[in-house]
Symmetry: C2
Subunit: 335 residues, 2 copies
DNA sequence: CACCGTTTCTACAACGTTGTAGGCAACGTT
DNA sequence: AACGTTGCCTACAACGTTGTAGAAACGGTG
């Protein structure tokens, strides 16, 4: 059965609190007492009841990570790094899937949040700053561009600059008809807006006009959407010599569509993505992309959360920027 | 601030327990009292403290899913389905990453488990039946082949039959030199052993000899391992006309290596995988594979856990089998 | 009108933990 | 010898919730 402090205390012949003190590493315990208690703990295989501890201390040692979808590789990889970074603080990570739906995101942000976890790392797709402002409690760190001036700490990368740089890479290779896949009209598409801005910046700086027919929207950013958008561009008669996809899964879908259309990458059309997911390192051809430092993003997020938990909860929201770099592979440069 | 039952009770002018009764849907509460309480709850935005509830009731409403790695697409997709299936029971899912390391798996199986969660769905890689036998508490459902006669409920698919069928598919297409990638020597490779068994069954039934030089080991089952194993086969002078990779990521790596070697798939070499991850539907070429019904696996696992929680915890361990089917795509059949 | 059963509500204790306050030795200082 | 200080330990209360027991109010019955 499961044992309590009381059982250990009886076995060791001390008070309950003394056992608690040993468990928590309190200093003023005589070595022989400590030894006796530790022995009893080992014999009974005692483990603290986290709920009781939380009830008393107000901490669970559990933080949540809420992402739109786990089977989007970017979020899966990010989740992995967050779990690792949190482990350094002795935290367990509860991973939550919001599906990017506003209602579910609100539930996560207010509901579960309220009492079970110490803090939340949150990558919202649909939630607004107002939704967040109404929340009372749990310390939160936001990821990504969705909520721009929210009430919480945030970790971002410079999407505009990154998008500009990868577009410049295409320009330097001599491409002039550069399509973009992944634009979004809705407010939800904050990342899309910024990446589009970087793209147009680069074109303008190169003296090229923005050509609307070269920009294809994609409501979601899955492989299927990328393939559909690419097919759309091709059948509409637009003939790009390069494509900037706003994330890697879109790009993988686009590669597929180009392949089906009998076009070679990069000889006929160059392709770049954004995110540097593992698939892109093994796709045919391998994918040139913007590689955000996901490990660093996770570390910064966990760090911000830790500071918020231990420090001033009312301090003004901080925003940290994580680095990125370009990963240039076969989809822009033939081997 | 955060409110308690007591605050709601004071506001509504009733006792704490009456509020608790309203929250828990107890029947004998006068409609007007109930209304008053509900109003107070809404005004204060009251939410129950899960830790306190757990302490009192012994239930948290949280289950854990422990998988080796989240950025292995198969597990990410599975996690998604588990979260969805669990939501139907009102459960939150805490997702844990073990890295497949025995020590970490033991921590998950005994540690966190002990007090924070109601139950565990566990996909072990390194843990043995003995490790599990020593555990006292939490109801558990195992996924996969690692622990064959453990003390807990289990959801599996028939790996031997599935591997045999996909191999038969290659045989029917006329392939005779069928390589296998992913064999493992260690005890940990239970899936590998079963899939290898299915492969050899099919060969034997077709009157072919088992050729050891055609079987390549892979300690992990990532893309990089698949690519390395395929390169190894090619440089060793073995010339297979088909390859059965024991999972899809291995197969994607193998596709990559074949591409680099200038071999066409499926014309020169046919390739099949196992798992039906999303990448395989968009790879070039698309990947023929065994598609386990992941949604069903998740549902069955959650269902088993629910029965265990509500029912007889000492009942003998049950084992359920989930269906699978073959997904035949371009990597075995040119368009 | 006394009685009984049902409905509705309340007071109290308990879940396992830790913070607070305090007690008792043992020691050194005056 | 009296005193304060320190080290080690214990007793008690409290965290927010719900189960148990029972009290109060109500309606119906003999």
């Amino acid at each position: 059965m499961r044992h309590r402090l009381k059982d250990v205390a009886e076995r060791a012949g001390v008070s309950v609190k003394t056992v608690s003190n040993v468990v928590n590493g309190y200093v003023h315990v005589r070595p022989d007492t400590r030894a006796r208690v530790e022995e009893a703990i080992a014999e009974l295989n005692y483990r603290p009841n986290l709920s009781a501890r939380h009830l008393r201390k107000g901490r669970t040692g559990v933080i949540a990570l809420a992402v739109p979808e786990l089977d989007i590789p970017y979020f899966a990889e990010l989740a992995r790094y967050v779990v690792t970074a949190a482990a350094a603080y002795g935290w367990t990570v509860l991973i939550d899937q919001t599906g990017g739906r506003r209602e579910q995101e609100r539930v996560v942000a207010s509901g579960i949040t309220d009492h079970l976890i110490d803090g939340l790392i949150f990558s919202p797709l649909a939630l607004t700053a107002e939704d967040l402002a109404g929340l009372d409690g749990t310390p939160m760190v936001l990821l990504g561009e969705r909520v721009e001036h929210g009430p919480a700490d945030r970790v971002v990368i410079d999407n505009v600059a990154a998008a500009r740089e990868i577009t410049e890479h295409l320009l330097e290779l001599g491409h002039r008809r550069i399509a973009a896949i992944g634009s979004q009209r809705t407010d939800e598409g904050a990342s899309a807006r910024l990446r589009l801005a970087g793209y147009t910046d680069a074109l303008r700086a190169a003296g090229l006009d923005y050509d609307e027919t070269l920009v294809a929207p994609a409501s979601a950013w899955h492989r299927a959407d990328g393939a559909a958008a690419m097919r759309g561009l091709l059948t509409s008669g637009v003939r790009p010599d390069a494509v900037f996809c706003f994330n890697d899964t879109l790009a993988l879908g686009a590669l597929r569509a180009l392949h089906e259309a009998g076009l070679r990458v990069p000889e006929d059309v160059a392709v770049v993505g954004f995110d540097d997911i593992e698939d892109g390192r093994f796709s045919i051809p391998t994918l040139s992309t913007v590689a955000p430092d996901k490990e660093r993003i996770a570390q910064l997020a966990v760090e911000l959360l830790a500071n918020r938990l231990d420090g001033d909860r009312a301090a003004p929201a901080k925003e940290l920027s994580a680095p990125y770099r370009l990963e240039l592979r076969e989809s822009t440069q033939a081997r």
